[in-house]
Every structure is written in structure tokens, then in C-alpha cells.
């Protein structure tokens, strides 16, 4: 097993669905970080078999809505003095703004310049959202 040092103070984003770690890493801008970061892919997981995880040796602001939308099974661990001081379980956000685009060409979002694309969660179990304006369905699982 690959060994990576535990961190003293920072954040561990755990239980990322395998394959999603890199896009979250990029989304958080960690590819440009000037502090210690580690992206671990396909690590063994008792819960899911395999998982990705990200270790960040720094306290950065995380957009939990966005992370929850990418993968609601993610766990965010806040580390102080090498110990987990807070464990945040994410879930699908009730509302997502400016993250996904409505694909309906007849939707008002396709023509208005400064409109913010906004989706509302309508089915938590199936991860189904609808466009607030035209009701177009967006399924989280694609």
C-alpha cells in the first residue's frame, strides 16, 4: 500500500467515488496549490471497495454545495493537530446555482445574458433536479 504522511492541520476529502477525485482536485484549484496536497486514486475502501481521496495540508474554503452535488457520498474531515476535529457528511444540495447549465434550447436561460442557471432537487433518492425556469429534468447520474 502506498504510504502518504498524515497531515497536521488541514482537510481530508474522503470517500470520493473512484474517477471523480481528479475533477474535484482541479475544481478546487489544487493543481496550482503552493501547499502540500495529495490526490490518491483507487484506494481500497471498506465501504465502497475503491475510493479516491484528497489530502490538503492547509485550511481552504470549500464549496460544500458544489462538492455535495458532484458526489453526495463524500466525507470532509477537518484536521487539527493530526486529529479529526470535524466530520462533515455531504448530501445532494436542495438548490444548485451556476453549476450546471439547462440544456433545453427553448429555456429562457438560453437567451438572457446574465441569468443564473438554477436547479431544484425534486427527487433525493434518484438525484433528480429540475430547471427552476422551464422544469427541464437533470439527472445527477446522467
Amino acid at each position: 500500500m502506498l504510504y502518504i504522511d498524515s497531515i497536521v492541520r488541514g482537510i481530508v476529502i474522503d470517500h470520493i467515488k473512484p474517477g471523480y477525485g481528479f475533477s474535484i482536485f482541479k475544481y478546487l484549484g489544487l493543481d496550482k496549490a503552493d501547499f502540500t496536497v495529495a490526490l490518491i486514486m483507487n484506494a481500497p475502501s471498506r465501504k465502497y471497495g475503491r475510493k479516491d481521496l484528497i489530502k490538503i495540508e492547509n485550511n481552504i474554503d470549500l464549496d460544500l454545495t458544489m462538492l455535495g452535488f458532484i458526489d453526495p457520498n463524500i466525507t470532509v474531515n477537518i484536521i487539527e493537530d493530526e486529529k479529526i476535529v470535524e466530520k462533515i457528511n455531504l448530501s445532494l444540495p436542495e438548490k444548485v446555482e451556476g453549476i450546471i447549465q439547462c440544456k433545453n434550447p427553448r429555456c429562457i436561460t438560453s437567451t438572457e445574458r446574465s441569468i443564473i442557471h438554477r436547479f431544484i432537487l425534486i427527487d433525493k433518492d434518484k438525484g433528480i433536479y429540475k430547471c427552476e425556469y422551464c422544469d427541464q429534468i437533470y439527472s445527477w447520474e446522467g
Binding site: 433545453n104 427553448r106 429555456c107 429562457i108 438572457e112 441569468i115 430547471c131 425556469y133 422551464c134 422544469d135
Partner: protein
């Protein structure tokens, strides 16, 4: 300050609120002279980003009959919209001049977006193929006035049930009442979308039947809601020829129907109701147009807080 109330979706009003609205509309019919000046000094803007003479006239006649005045445009070519003005800017500007807005737009969700910026009540007068709540009010008010109730009715919906937004809205709206049955009459290609069946009919345990021919079921119906079947919606010519006459209501088919059937149509019609049916007392579609205006009068009064 009370929150501004808009009408964007047919479901925005509860069953109780609808009943209040319809009793007001009924009061207007019974004594129109009492309402002639109730909107004195008020202005309605009709912002029609696509032409719809019928709906615009209905709104304008409604406001004029209440003693109010009307400004607006009937196509975007004659307005600042052509210069590239955004919806928020147009709505904030117009909202500074008027007391209430009726907006029609080809893009879905445009009235909802506009409502976020509107300083006055805003009515969705149709947004593309999405919603047309005042048509639903019209349909419901016509059912109430002709049948005297919303419960215990068998409603036949005939024609294009796939693309017809008025049909979808009417199913949703009527599903809130007791003991409603639907008979869905359409060619296979134009059947009601699955989500209407699963999320509205099945979820509310509403009985429904899907058939291809009107003459097989017309005798069951208390209400027959006709819509237009367009040739271009069919996948092949043979099916169109085979089925096209099944979706035309004529005297022959009407002979099989109940004596107190109410025939509704959102209009305009092409050939789906023969002209010979117009004089039958069961034909309610022109009364429906008038009921639409009264429903809009009541709606304007409610949203303005006048009544």
C-alpha cells in the same frame, strides 16, 4: 409590506384560492355594472414577446371592463426588446409605470425570471410550450359554470395529448378534485407523456383509460376537451389517414353522447369540431372564451388586492 403575488404556474393557487377566484368571477357575471370602475386609475401592461391576439384581447378587455387602462406591445419588433434590452431591465422599467403586467414570451420560464424583478404582480400569459395558467383558469371556470361542480366527472381529452400544454395543465388541475376519471383519446404517437401518467394519475390513484377512437367512449363523458391534431405530428401518412376522422367531432358522433355533455376547446380550431356542432347546446367553447375573460377579470382584481 405584503408580498407581491404573481400567477406563473397553474398550480400556484390552492383549490380554496381557486374557489374564491371563481366565486368572484361569478359575481362579476351576475352584476357587471358594480365592477365597472373598480380599477379606475390602474394600468395593465400587456408585454407580448410573441403575437397572440386572442389572449391579449382577453386581458385587455378584462382590464377595460373593470375601468382600468392598458398599455403594451403585441410583438417585440416594436419595442426596446429589439435593441437587446434584457428582461430584468424591461420589467423594472414597465413596472415603474403600471400596476400589473401580463407577459407572453416564446421562451420557457421567461415570466418566472421576470417575476424576480417585477415590482408589481405579473401574470404568465403563456411561455412557449411550457405553461399557460390563465387558459387553465378558463377551462376550470368553464367546467364549474357548466357542470356546477369539479367532482364526480368523467373527462375525455381528445386529439394531441402529447404536445398540448393545456391538456397537461388541465389533468394536473383536475387531479386535485374528488372522483375524477380521465379518458385519453389520441393516436399512439400523440399519447399523454409517461410522466403525467406516473406522477399525476398513478400517484393520485386516478382512474384513466387510453383509447384511439372517440366514438368508442363518447357516451361515457361528462366533459369532452377537444384539441387540434396536426398532420405533421404523425410519423407516416397511412396512420394519419387511418385516424384523422376519429379526432373530428361531428353530429354523428355527438348522437352517441350524453345529453348534458360539455364540449370544450382552447381554440383556435381548424377542423376538429365540425361547424354543424356549433349550434348544439352542448358546444361550450364560445362560452368558454367569455368565461376566460371573466376569470381574468377576477384574477386582476385578486392580484391587485382590489377585491
Amino acid at each position: 409590506m405584503t408580498e407581491i403575488r404573481h400567477l406563473l404556474d397553474p398550480q400556484d393557487f390552492s383549490v380554496e384560492e381557486l374557489e374564491k377566484l371563481f366565486s368572484l368571477a361569478e359575481k362579476i357575471i351576475e352584476g357587471e355594472e358594480k365592477f365597472r370602475n373598480v380599477c379606475d386609475g390602474k394600468i395593465l401592461a400587456t408585454l407580448f414577446y410573441e403575437p397572440s391576439t386572442r389572449t391579449r384581447f382577453s386581458f385587455e378587455a378584462a382590464m377595460l371592463r373593470l375601468g382600468g387602462r392598458v398599455i403594451g406591445f403585441s410583438e417585440p419588433g416594436s419595442s426596446s426588446v429589439m435593441k437587446g434590452e434584457s428582461i430584468p431591465d424591461t420589467i423594472r422599467t414597465v413596472g415603474s409605470y403600471v400596476d400589473i403586467i401580463a407577459m407572453r414570451h416564446p421562451k420557457e420560464g421567461a415570466p418566472r425570471y421576470a417575476s424576480y424583478y417585477s415590482p408589481v404582480p405579473l401574470i404568465n400569459a403563456g411561455d412557449g410550450g411550457h405553461q399557460h395558467p390563465t387558459q387553465t383558469l378558463t377551462d376550470l371556470f368553464t367546467i364549474r359554470q357548466t357542470k356546477g361542480q369539479f367532482s364526480n366527472l368523467t373527462i375525455g381529452l381528445c386529439g394531441d395529448l402529447k404536445f398540448g400544454r393545456t391538456v397537461h395543465s388541465l389533468i394536473k388541475a383536475m387531479s386535485r378534485y374528488e372522483n375524477i376519471k380521465f379518458i385519453l383519446i389520441s393516436p399512439d404517437e400523440l399519447k399523454v407523456p409517461d410522466y403525467i401518467k406516473t406522477e399525476i394519475l398513478d400517484r393520485n390513484s386516478i382512474e384513466y383509460l387510453e383509447v384511439e377512437r372517440l366514438e368508442e367512449v363518447i357516451h361515457y363523458l361528462d366533459i369532452l376537451y377537444m384539441t387540434r391534431v396536426q398532420k405533421e405530428r404523425f410519423f407516416n401518412e397511412a396512420d394519419y389517414i387511418r385516424l384523422k376522422d376519429s379526432y373530428i367531432l361531428d353530429k354523428e358522433k355527438l348522437k352517441l353522447a350524453k345529453k348534458d355533455l360539455a364540449i370544450l376547446h382552447p381554440l383556435p380550431r381548424v377542423n376538429e369540431i365540425s361547424y354543424e356542432v356549433d349550434n348544439d347546446p352542448r358546444a361550450k367553447y364560445f362560452q368558454q372564451v367569455k368565461y376566460g375573460m371573466y376569470a381574468r377579470m377576477a384574477l386582476i382584481l385578486k392580484l391587485l388586492g382590489v377585491m
